[in-house]
Amino acid sequence: MTTEIALDDIVVEYPVPGAKGGRRELRRALDGITLHIEQGESFGLVGESGCGKSTTANVIIGLATPSSGSVAIDGEIVSTPRRPALQQHVQMVFQDPASSLNPRLRVRSVLRELIEHHHVASGTELKGRLNELMDMVGLPRRVLDALPRDLSGGQRQRVAIARALAVEPRVLIADEAVSALDVSAQAKVINLLADLKDDLGLTLIFISHDLSVVRALCDRAAVMHAGRVIEVAQTEVLFSSPQQEYTRRLLRAIPAFGSSHGVPAAPTPHGQQLPRVSADRERISL
């Protein structure tokens, strides 16, 4: 395994107005974090609001500049602004389905703008690429002509994933990408991300406050608290034998649902005499 993303001793500070209207002072959003994410793994970043997990994502993608420390992508130390190939290398899916898409642009225009800018495809290839992207994220091709307001939250998040994939990245960051979705839409988007990671060999960085979602999706995870990484481990290990008191507290706070309930043995859907009204449209629906 090679290291895809290497963050070393990253500090991010931003000025805030001082107390009682005093001089601006610096507040540390990230307080010296070191994280090495391997190629092709799915890595979870968990913590509560204000712990710095979104800032970490912004550092990786280049929206925030560290005041010290180094960021390496694919072995290359990056600087801001990044050269286009590196910018293309890492893409992000944002949290809020309501604001993740430009309300005035049709899905087709959003995707085409990015594809053409990065010379990923043009002319007749372009049409094929657009269709391919829709297929990848499990949306019917006519969604290409939709405006964001015509789409449900889950569909918008799929479009946002297609947009991230349009420039053929190697790393996909999902920043609370399923938090705003209903349970049933959430499960489908999680499955989609897992499939894309396998099919395209992506490195997936999954940021969430929801530990159960990270548990379902990630190989390894880091727990963040107050701008620091306090524990990194295989997800199984992190959940079964957390080393830090804070991690244990976080785990205890999850409403005990998964551990106590036994999912009942569902009657087999491929049952003998059960005529099924609907064909299996799992892959292309949500």
């Binding site: 993608i61 929206l63 910018q87 893409q91 993740s100 430009n102 309300p103 990015l114 949500l286």
Partner: protein, 300 residues
Amino acid sequence: MIDVSTASPAPATAAATDGVPRSGLKRGTGKLIVGSTIVTVFVLAALFAPWITLGDPQAQDLANRLAAPSAQHWLGTDSLGRDVWTRLVFAAQVDLRVGILGAVIPAILGTLIGIAAGFGNRVVDSSIMRFSDVIVAFPLFIFFLALVGLVGPGEGFWFLGPGELPIIIGFALISWVVYARLMRTEVRRVRSLDYVRAAETGGLPRRRVIVGHVLPNAMNQTFVYVFVDIGLAIVAVSTLAFLGVGIPLDTPEWGAMISSARGYINTNWWLIVAPGAAIATLAVGLALIGDGLDDRLKQS
């Protein structure tokens, strides 16, 4: 929602385009229809003024002063025997011209300044904002009017009548502040939205992000406000003319007409009511368009 199942059991679902189906028209449609009908009537009247009136708003008939409305003079005549209907319609030219320029010029100016502040760094932004504070704090408009009062309305300029240019300049100097603040706030809001961040991280050039993703979504409130502002400018112009500032009193202009008819309110009340109603109706029409646009924008 767009229906995404291949085998849709209920065809009704496929036809739906939205979460909650709406009964009837989009919100704001009524206001937009009424507002734009009113404004269109005024604009058409102004454009075709020579054909729907007696022709010359200054033609005097001293033998026939202060006549009551008749088949010849629909709204009677004023104290100099001039046809009031003709003056009323020609006044629409003056008021619409000054009102539109007095709102649109500051809107363009302020929007550009607001964009600079919204995208600029901290120094650019705070310089612009402090300068706009100074403009608001300093009684610039009164100062300007005093100056106009001293030097007089002057000649007309290009297609503008006497006194119109100073008034428009006066509006431009003051009202840009509102547009600049509005635009700055909107630019900052839209810039922080996820789709703009996605365009940035997608590697699109800065100019494309600004022109393609930020500005189109930051302009909405400006469009809403400019309609309301045209109405406000018209009310302001006629108020000034009423007070004898800016546009000369003998110009066919609603405020000036009211001012010169002041002495005849007991006998010839329509001399005041007609221009007053014109101002009010047009301002309401413009406000309705602004309001309707706002409803429409909030909905989507």
